[in-house]
Symmetry: D2
Subunit: 343 residues, 4 copies
C-alpha cells in the first residue's frame, strides 16, 4: 500500500547504503573513535561553528533525554510546549531520568517567549520557590510536531528570556532539514548553533538508517558527554556506522538536497487538497500537512493510502500526510490521482 | 504577630508534648519496632480495618513520593489534578523518583472521575500507547489544596474508573482530620480505607510535631514497604517518637476533637468576613478559606496578621486564612476585631 | 593493521548487508511492528520455546539495564560477579536506573551458586534486612567476560538458589553464539530458555550491524516490556532493520555457522601460542584468549597487530586476542606468521 | 532491660525537651526560616567557619544521599570504604538516586588515601574511562562504623588525592561528637570544615530527638541546596524543631560535654572487659567497642543486657556495646556488675 503516514517508513538514501556496503569488511576501532566518525564531525562543525562538539546517537528519544539529563541537576526541570515530543510521546523518558517537564500551553506546536518569561517570573519571584522544580532548560522542536517552524526573531526572543533567567536552550531537530529547506525559513545551521546551547540534526527521518547528530555550542555542556552516551546505552559498538552515514549525508550537501525533495513533494499534495476545497488544520510549511476531512473522505482515503489520524475537530477529522527524503514522483502522482477522485 | 497563614506554625498538642517528656528517658529499640509504634498502629487499624498495614513517616512529601514510587513500575505514571500538591509544590519529587505526573485540569482542587476516564480511554485505545507513560495510579488530596472535599459518591465514581483501568487510588490526607470533621463530610476512615488502595492520615498539620500515618488496604502494595521507607530516608532512628505521638492522637479520639476545633474557629472567621461583604474565591468547608479582597484591604490586613497570598483575581486579590488544632478563641477574637475594622 | 582486539571491528555478515540493500526502498510501518520483525521473532521462538516473548534492542548495555530495571522494584538489587559487564563497563547504567549491583567475588568470570546462596542467606536472616537493598535478580554473562562458559549443571545449581530465594535469573548473551558453538558447551537455546527467566542472544558481536534479541520466558516479566524499550530510547523508528537482520541470522542456522568460525579461528591462534610456550591466563574455550607475554613479546606484537591489554600478572602481561564471525583464514594466517617470529 | 545495643535508644537530652516544651505554643514561620534555625546556624558557623552554609535535616541516610546526589552529575560515582554506611546499610539509597558506590576494601572501617589514589589512577589513565562511572566524591565516616577515627594527617592525605583528581571530600559525622571528644582525636570542627568540602554533625545519636547539621564549605556545593532538601522529603514543615534543638546543643558547648560522657562511660566498660581477659576485635577509641566473646559468654550476656551482634570470628563472636550522651553511671555500674560475673 501507498504510505504517507510518517517520514521513516523506508530505509536509507541509496548513497548511504552504498557506503555501508563498500566499507563493510574494513576493520576499525569501535565506539565512534574511528576515522569516519571524526570526518563526519568535522563536516558538521564546518556547517555550524568550528568549536562545537558533535556526538552521534541512534535516535531522537535518546538524543532528547541524554541532552536534558546531562545538562540538569536533579532539582532542575525543562520547559516544553505541552505538544512537545518529550511531553507526549517518549513514555516519560525525561521524568524517568528524574526531571519534571514543565508543559506550557501551545497553540501551534511552538513555545512562545512570553509564556516562558511569565513562568520564570512566577518561579523566581516566589517566596517558596524551593518547593517547585527549578526551570533550567527550554526545549523546543523545530520543525514542531505540527510542522511549524521558528523564525529567527522568535528564536532570538526565546534566547533573551533564557539569558535573563539563566536557562539552557535546546532544539530538537528530528526534522531539522525539512525546516531549513522550507520556504518560510530564515535561519542557517550557523544561526541555530549561535542561538542554542545545544541542538540536534535529525538523520533518522532524513536519509540515514538511524542516527542523530547532537551539536553542543555551550562549553558548560561539553565535559563528559561521552559518559552519558555510554551510560544510556547509546554508544554504538560499531560506531563507524554513524560516522559513515553522517559523512555521506554532509558531503556535497546531500542532507539539504534530499530535505528539499520532501518539501517539493508535500507542496504538490497540499495544492491538490486545497483545489478540492480541503482546509488545513494548521498552516505548516514543512513536510507534514494536516488536512481536515469529512468522515466519508477519510474512509475513502483509508482504502487507498496510509496516513496518520490526528484527532476530531468538531464534526470533521484531522489527518496527517508526511513526505520524506525518499518520497518519489511516482508515489505522489499516485496520491494526487487518489485525491482527485476523493468524494 | 498573629498568624493565620498556615496550619503548622506551632508545635504539638500539649498532650503530645507531655507524653514525649514522660517517656524521654525510657530505652527502646529503634526504627519503629517499639511497643508504642505497635500500639499506635493497632489504634489506627481499629479505626480503619483490621487488616490494613500502617506505617509512620515524617512528612507529607515523603509520604507521597514513597507511596507512589513503591507502587509504580518505572514506565508507570500517576494522574493528579493540576492543582495537586505533588504536581505543584514538592519540587518534582515524584518525577525525581522517575514517574510522570499526568496533570488533569481541575476547577476546584478536585479531580473528576470523568476526566480520569477520558484520559485512560485515550491512552488504552491508542495505537502507540507504549510511546506514552502508562497511567497506573490516581492521586487525590482530601481535603484538596483549595479546602474542598470529596463526597462519598464522588470517591465511588473515581474508584469505579480505577477498577475499570486497573489503577491504584491514593488519597493524600495531609489535612484529613479537618475534612472528616467538617459539616459537608459523609465519610469515615473505614469508608476511605475501603475505597482507596492506600491513603495517609496527616499528623503534622493536626496535632503532632511531625508525622503521617500511611494506611495500606491493597495487599499488592504491602510487601517490602519498610525497605522503601528506609531507602528514602524516612525511617526515624528513634521511631518511637512517631509511635508515641500517634498513640496519643488516636486514644480517646483526640485527633477528631482537635480537628473539630479548626472547623469551629474558621467558621467564625468566615462569618465575620461575609458580614463585611467579602466574597470567597471558592466555597471551602474545611480549615482553609480564600477571601477575595481589595488591595487596600489586603494592605490593612497585612499590617495586623500573617496570611497567605494566593493570586490575583481580576482587580482583586485572593488570600488564604488557615486555622488549626492549635488555634485559640483568643487568637480568633483578635482576628475578628481586626476584620471588623477593615476598610 | 591486522586487528584481533575485539569482536565488533567490522560491519555485518555479507548476507545481512545484501538483505538490507534489497529491502531498502520498501515501505513498512515502524517501531518493530513490521512483518520482518514478526518473522524474526518466530524463528527465535522456534529455537527456544514457542511461548517466550522476543524483543529486539540495539546494544548490550541497553539490553542489560532495560531487562534489569523492568524486572526490579526500586528497592531491589541485582547480584553479579564482580567481573560482570554491568558492574565494570557500563558506566553505572544499572545504578543510574536506581538499582544496586551486589558484586560477589569471581575467580574466572563466573558466579558460583554457593556465593549467591551465602549472600541471600545473610540477607534474609538479618534482623535489619530492610536496611540493605533486597537481592531479587542474578545476572550472569555466558560466555563470561573471561571467555569461560557455564555448564548445564552449574546453571541448574544457580537456578535452584534462585528458586529458593525468589530471584530472577538473567543471562547476558552478548557472545552467546560463541558459547553455544564451543566444544565444552552442553546446552541448547531451549535449555537456556528453560533455566533462565530472561536472557538475550547477542547479535552485534555475531553477524549483524547492531542488535540483541531479548528472550523472556517468565510470564511475570512479559507485560509492558515495549514501554520500557521506548522509555529507554531503544525503540528503533525503522524497527524493521532489526527484524531483517535477525530473520537472516536465524534462517538456515546462519547464527550458529558463523559463530563456529570464530571458534575454529581462535583455536588455531591458541595452538600457535602454546607451541611457543606461551601460557594462558585463564582456560577459555570460546572466541577470546588471554595469553601471558613478556614485555618484549608484547612490544613486538603491538607493532604488528591490534589486541587488548588486560593487565599485569607479576612481571608479565595479560593480553587478549578475539576472533569473530568475520575473521578470515587470511587474517589468521598472517597472525600465525607473526606469532611464529615472536621473540 | 538494660540496653547498650546502640546510641539512639532514648529520647533527647533533657535541656532539649525543656526547650521544645517551652516554645511549643509559639507561632513561627515554617520550613526552617524561623529565628531559632537562624540562630542555630550561626552558632555552628562560629564553631566551623563563618562562610560555611548550614542546613538541618532529619536523619543520617537523608543527609548522605542528599549531599551526594546534590553534588554529583548522573554519570558520577562516590568512593567509599566497603564497610561504609552508604554501601551497606542504607538500602541502596545512593544508587536509588542514580549513583554507583565504588566500594574499596577497608581493614578498620577507614578508607586509605593510597587506595583512592590507585583507583583514580586506574580510571583516569584508562582508554575506555567513559565505560566506567566517573569517581567524583570520596565518602568517609568519622568515626567509622568500627568506631575508629581519622587523624589529621590521614585526612590531609585524602584531601591531597581529592585535589589531584578533582574529587569532593564528604565526611559522614553521624557520631562526630564522639570522635571529637575521644582521646586520640587531634582535629577540631574548624579543621574538618577546612579539609572537607561538606560534612555533617550528627545530632540523632548525640542529644537531639532527631537531626543532622550539614555543613558546606565548598562554594560549588552551596547553590540550591534547599531545593534538594525539599525534593527529598527532608524539609520539616515545623522546621524550628531542628533549630531549637541545635541551638540548645551548641549553646554552652552542650554537644561536646554530652559527647564526652559517652567516652567516659565506654572506657569503664572496656576496662572491665579487658580485666576479664576479653579481647577487642578492633581498637576503637570512641563510643563503640567490639569485644570478642565465647558462645557461652555471649549467651550469658544476652540474658542480662541488649547489645549488637557483629559476626563470627573463628570460633568466637564479635559483639558491640555502645554508650551515648544519655548513658548514666547507674546503667554502667549495672553492666560492670554483669561483666564481673561473666563466665
Amino acid at each position: 500500500m501507498l504510505r504517507f503516514e510518517c517520514d521513516y517508513n523506508t530505509g536509507a538514501h541509496k548513497k548511504i547504503i552504498e557506503k555501508l556496503t563498500e566499507t563493510n569488511e574494513e576493520q576499525t576501532c569501535g565506539y565512534g573513535m574511528d576515522e569516519y566518525s571524526i570526518q563526519a564531525k568535522k563536516l558538521i562543525q564546518n556547517k555550524c561553528q568550528n568549536d562545537v562538539d558533535v556526538h552521534f546517537v541512534i535516535g531522537g528519544t535518546q538524543a532528547n533525554y541524554i541532552v536534558i539529563s546531562s545538562a540538569l541537576r536533579a532539582h532542575e526541570a525543562v520547559i516544553s510546549a505541552d505538544t512537545g515530543h518529550i511531553n507526549l510521546h517518549e513514555t516519560g523518558a525525561v521524568e524517568a531520568k528524574g526531571h519534571k517537564v514543565i508543559a506550557l500551553k501551545s497553540y501551534d506546536g511552538k513555545l512562545r517567549a512570553i509564556d516562558v518569561e511569565n513562568y520564570c517570573n512566577m518561579h523566581f519571584t516566589s517566596d517558596d520557590m524551593e518547593h517547585m522544580a527549578k526551570p533550567k532548560m527550554v526545549y523546543i522542536s523545530n520543525p514542531s510536531e505540527y510542522g511549524t517552524i521558528y523564525k529567527k526573531h522568535e528564536l532570538k526572543e526565546i534566547r533573551k528570556v533564557c539569558d535573563k533567567y539563566d536557562l539552557y536552550l535546546f532544539m530538537d531537530g528530528a526534522r531539522l532539514g525539512y525546516g531549513l529547506m522550507c520556504e518560510e525559513n530564515d535561519m542557517t545551521l550557523k544561526d541555530i548553533a549561535g542561538l542554542c546551547d545545544v541542538f540536534y540534526i535529525g538523520g533518522t527521518k532524513i536519509g540515514v538508517l538511524f542516527g542523530e547528530a547532537i551539536v553542543i555550542s555551550n562549553d558548560k555542556l561539553k565535559p563528559d558527554f561521552r559518559y552519558f552516551i555510554k551510560q544510556n546505552g547509546a554508544m554504538l559498538a560499531k560506531g563507524r556506522l554513524l560516522g559513515i552515514q553522517f559523512k555521506t549525508l554532509f558531503e556535497n550537501d546531500l542532507y539539504f538536497k534530499i530535505s528539499k525533495n520532501a518539501i517539493l513533494q508535500i507542496t504538490k499534495i497540499k495544492k491538490a487538497l486545497i483545489s478540492k476545497n480541503i482546509k488545513m488544520y494548521i498552516d505548516s510549511p514543512t513536510n507534514q500537512i494536516f488536512p481536515v476531512v469529512s468522515y466519508e473522505q477519510m474512509k475513502y482515503l483509508r482504502e487507498n493510502v496510509a496516513f496518520s489520524y490526528w484527532g476530531k475537530e468538531k464534526e470533521e477529522h484531522v489527518i496527517r500526510f508526511c513526505t520524506s527524503f525518499a518520497t518519489t514522483d511516482e508515489q505522489v502522482d499516485e496520491l494526487l490521482e487518489i485525491i482527485k477522485n476523493m468524494p
